[in-house]
């Protein structure tokens, strides 16, 4: 007897099952209905340069479950691995089953090829698919109904989806078992279909009486499958993510991660940012449908973790509800989205740390939506927290965001006692040390600037500074949504850089770094921008820095700045520098790398009050303290300030202090200021 099988076998009138293909029509219609909702948004170019490539990398990301399994992320998170494996099993299982069914149809009605070994392999693959999917679904049930993580909300849709899929798999195995049972003589090769064969042995082999059961359950199985598809078409349930999420991944932003989109033709605009759904782009609305409510964003959001009312997941969900509302009744205008459905407090609570985006499996982009709403609040409605108002006022009148007694100094004051080349006076140097407002104005941060200058000078790096004339880079204005101020500032800065032939910019501030590197390009400014950690790592590697011994053995922990890490993937260099320093032992906090918790100071938050919940910097300080380190090392002026405050507020200053990376390097360096002086004199 030949090793093979008929597809329909016991089912005499099975072929009408192909009519189910007609269900593709309502699926397409369903997609079209959602497309109409996305079209409420503003059009943006769909097929720009590089989009084709993003289709391919997107498909690869989906296939390997890059985000869900945390592939390539530092560190991998065992906590997230459960959900990742669960999804991967269901995904791989369903894909295999679909493939096997498809091949069976091909074999039956087009090219019969499933004889002998190919049949056995395909049977076996189908079996694996069923097992994978079943295991994944059981894991899902355990997770959802026994472990119950806080970030999941259990709706009827979730239960229905699980029940339907489980029934599909179980009936699939049962009909397979019944088929084997009722086949005479019993086909021994079906042992390759190991689950089906095991079931058949339970039912009893060579039992013709089971044919009737087989027929009924076969139709039940088909019924469940098409029932699921019909459910998929008519209520746009969570399962629809199978279709929408890949589309969203294909159309994900091609800008550098750290760059916000500029406002096109800003000088002709009448309103700014997004006050309601139709002010977003179609892609931003597509995001809303791609979201599967998995809640990873919420779990990693510093605002949510610290007890604020903001949840990135809720923002997306509320926006989706609003989109459906606007789609069904065009006239619905009030309440507005920004400020009423999404509250002002939530819009201002975001630190723009990007951890929500970094963990989102379907590449939803949350931060730009928040900033769009901020743009509307600040520039159109002129409504913002008093602290932000003060900060904007300062940007307008003083060109930097700081106020208060601590900042009663001038931009060039940090240069006292240092010999420096001033931009414009030194013609042959194309490297600029961009100090940044905080590094120039705040006492504690000015120390860092001076350390950096000394290190650069001792390593023989030629650079100029702008001194008292250095303006703001524009980042604070852009993150709080004051795009006009940002655009003006950037254009002025680029003009200055071009005028003085600046080619390379070194900075100690990740916020300046990110803006100049990733966002100035939008205004025609293309410069080589280096964060001090990159430069110091390079200098150390090249042996340009003389490292001797540190004072004594010290345990330190490194805090990843969001704008360095998640925004620009600089995780390695700071750690590389630390590994070069003698007598320094580095330990990691539980949340580090891509999962590092924000210090609480990004996105303009450093200038705002934080009255609700726990202060984010206190949580992070506690985390650093628990590592048993005596120094928490930062590479960002805001992080430095946030830790400084956290340490003092928690009265940990006897055990823990905060230092910038360059300060730690300086303490390990052989060359003191006097030696530099001597070296300079001897030429």
């Amino acid at each position: 007897m030949e090793i093979s099988r008929e597809a329909f076998w016991n089912i005499q009138y099975g072929r009408p099952v192909y009519l189910g293909m007609l269900l593709l029509l309502p699926i397409c219609y369903s997609i079209y209905r959602r497309y109409r909702l996305w079209s409420l948004g503003k059009p943006v170019e769909k097929l720009e340069k590089g989009r084709l490539g993003s289709f391919i990398t997107g498909a690869a990301k989906i296939l390997i479950h890059k985000r869900l399994l945390g592939i390539g992320s530092i560190p991998s998170s065992p906590k997230e691995l459960y959900a990742g494996i669960m999804h991967a099993l269901i995904f791989a299982g369903m894909l295999l089953l679909l493939l096997v069914t498809l091949l069976l149809a091909v074999h039956e009605d087009f090219v019969p090829f499933m004889h002998g070994v190919p049949y056995l392999i395909i049977s076996f693959l189908g079996e694996l698919g069923g097992i994978f999917a079943f295991a994944g679904l059981v894991m899902a049930v355990i997770r959802r109904y026994i472990r119950k993580p806080e970030r999941l909300d259990n709706t009827l849709d979730d239960s229905l989806t699980l029940v339907l899929l489980l029934l599909l798999i179980i009936t699939g195995f049962v009909i397979e078992g019944l088929r084997i049972s009722a086949t005479i003589p019993a086909p021994p090769w079906e042992r390759w279909s190991f689950v089906g064969f095991a079931l058949a042995e339970i039912f009893g082999l060579e039992k013709v009486s089971l044919l009737r059961w087989h027929k009924w359950i076969w139709w039940l199985h088909v019924g469940i499958f098409y029932g699921t598809v019909i459910y998929l078409c008519f209520s746009f349930p969570k399962l629809f993510h199978i279709i929408v999420s890949p589309i969203n991944i294909f159309f994900c932003s091609l800008r550098p991660k750290g760059a916000l989109a500029p406002i096109a033709n800003i000088e002709d605009a009448e309103t700014f940012g997004a006050s309601d759904i139709d002010d977003f782009t179609w892609k931003q609305l597509l995001d809303l449908d791609a979201c599967t409510n998995c809640g990873r964003c919420q779990d990693s959001c510093p605002a949510y973790i610290s007890g604020k009312t903001l949840s990135p997941k809720r923002v997306i969900r509320d926006m989706k509800v609003r989109m459906e509302e606007r789609g069904s009744k065009q006239s619905v205008k009030s309440p507005a989205l920004a400020g009423e459905i999404i509250k002002d407090d939530d819009i201002w609570s975001c630190t723009t740390c990007r951890s929500c985006q970094e963990v989102c499996p379907v590449f939803v982009e949350h931060v730009d939506k928040i900033v769009e709403m901020r743009r509307n609040l600040t520039m159109t409605q002129s409504r913002m927290p008093e602290a932000v108002q003060l900060m904007v006022g300062n940007l307008f009148s003083r060109g930097h965001p700081w106020t208060g007694a601590q900042y009663m100094r001038l931009k060039g004051d940090w240069m006292d006692g240092l010999e420096l080349n001033i931009l414009g006076k030194e013609k042959n140097i194309d490297t600029l040390l961009w100090v940044g407002c905080t590094g120039a104005l705040a006492d504690r941060n000015a120390d860092v600037t001076r350390s950096l200058v000394k290190i650069l000078q001792s390593a023989g790096v030629d650079f100029t500074v702008m001194g008292a004339e250095e303006p703001c880079c524009g980042d604070p204005a852009r993150r709080i949504g004051f795009e006009i101020l940002f655009a003006e500032q950037v254009q002025q800065n680029i003009e200055i850089f071009h005028k003085h032939n600046v080619k390379r910019i070194i900075t100690a501030c990740p916020h300046c770094f990110n803006t100049i590197k990733n966002e100035y390009r939008q205004f025609g400014g293309d410069f080589e921008v280096l964060h001090h950690s990159q430069l110091l790592a390079r200098l150390l590697r090249d042996g340009k820095l003389k490292i001797t011994g540190g004072e004594r053995r010290r345990r330190v922990t490194y805090h990843d700045s969001c704008y360095l890490g998640r925004y620009n993937d600089i995780y390695y260099e700071p750690r590389d520098i630390l590994s070069h320093l003698p007598r320094i032992e580095t330990v990691e906090m539980p949340r580090f790398g891509q999962r590092a918790l924000c210090c609480g100071g990004g996105g303009g938050r450093i200038w705002m009050e934080e009255p609700v919940g726990t202060k984010i910097n206190r949580i992070r300080t506690e985390e650093a303290f628990k590592t048993g380190s005596e120094v928490v090392v930062t590479a960002c002026p805001f992080c430095l300030q946030m830790f400084d405050e956290g340490i003092r507020a928690k009265e940990l200053d006897k055990d823990l202090k905060v230092m910038d990376l360059v300060e730690l390097v300086e303490t390990s360096m052989a060359v003191s200021g006097e030696e530099i002086q001597k070296r300079r004199e001897t030429g």
Binding site: I266, A269, S382, E386, S397, M408, L410, A468, E469, I484
Partner: protein, 262 residues
């Protein structure tokens, strides 16, 4: 209804005191290097009052400033806050005008600007703190003046003004036109909106010279700086030493009584 606001650009009052420099010989304040001048805080609030009245009663707001070309920045800022027209009177004098000269120039400029129902000034400029220009303009124009306002309302065609006085405020009323000087109690000035900034960037600021407005300054100046100096302040620090907090408090209290503070 036309409202005119007189504004002045001053050196940033937030610069550290140690960086404040004068030229005693030339009897001049030296502008600090690397710090842009700002619109005087009280004048910014005067603009705010004008804009609040505009929001409520529909008015056209004109801002006027005197100064070097850089002073136009202050006008542009007021325009971005929402003022409708900006006038810059070029000051081509060697010496900074005194309060009488400033008031004379502003009064002539206001006359040239046309009809008005209200003139607003800051209670004083944040540089010299003289607090005279507003009142002298009113005298020049022969209109009533109410000073140090914490609130300005238009009620039945009259200006009702709450003026700050010691321990409170008094309410006064005056017919139109009038001049009111504004104090910081009015509240925070608004920030420019996006559309405001765009409009201000595109707006053309009217430029007048002293001749254009027919200002003849001969014999107007009435004050002279005899001596300009920065007063020397000495601070001595006395640390109260004690082992316990109550003991320290007791010692501190005794010490304060000794120097007649309590």
């Amino acid at each position: 209804m036309n409202i005119i606001v007189c504004i002045k650009q001053v050196p940033d009052p937030e610069i550290p005191p140690a960086r404040f420099q004068i030229d005693p010989e030339g009897k001049k304040v030296l502008p600090p290097e690397g710090v842009a001048p700002v619109i005087s805080v009280f004048d910014e609030r005067a603009v705010e009052v004008a804009l609040r009245l505009k929001d409520k009663h529909q008015a056209k707001v004109t801002v006027i400033t005197i100064g070097p070309p850089a002073a136009k920045k202050a006008v542009r800022y007021a325009l971005s806050m929402g003022a409708d027209t900006g006038i810059h009177v070029q000051q081509d004098m060697v010496e900074e005008p005194d309060s009488f000269e400033s008031a004379h120039i502003l009064a002539r400029a206001i006359e040239k600007a046309g009809e008005y129902s209200l003139i607003l000034c800051g209670r004083q400029a944040a540089d010299w703190d003289a607090g005279q220009v507003g009142s002298i303009i009113a005298e020049n124009l022969g209109i009533p003046v109410l000073t140090v306002a914490r609130k300005v309302d238009l009620i039945d065609g009259k200006w009702r003004v709450e003026s700050v006085i010691q321990d409170g405020y008094r309410i006064m009323q005056t017919p139109m036109p009038a001049l009111v000087t504004v104090s910081s109690e009015i509240g925070l000035p608004r920030l420019p909106t996006g559309i405001g900034i765009i409009k201000a960037t595109k707006a053309k600021i009217i430029e007048w010279s002293l001749n254009d407005i027919g200002a003849d300054l001969s014999g107007i100046r009435r004050s002279e700086i005899l001596k300009l100096y920065i007063p020397v302040r000495e601070a001595k620090c006395h640390i109260v030493e004690a082992d316990t907090v109550p003991e320290a408090a007791q010692k501190l209290a005794l010490r304060l009584r000794e120097v007649k503070i309590i």
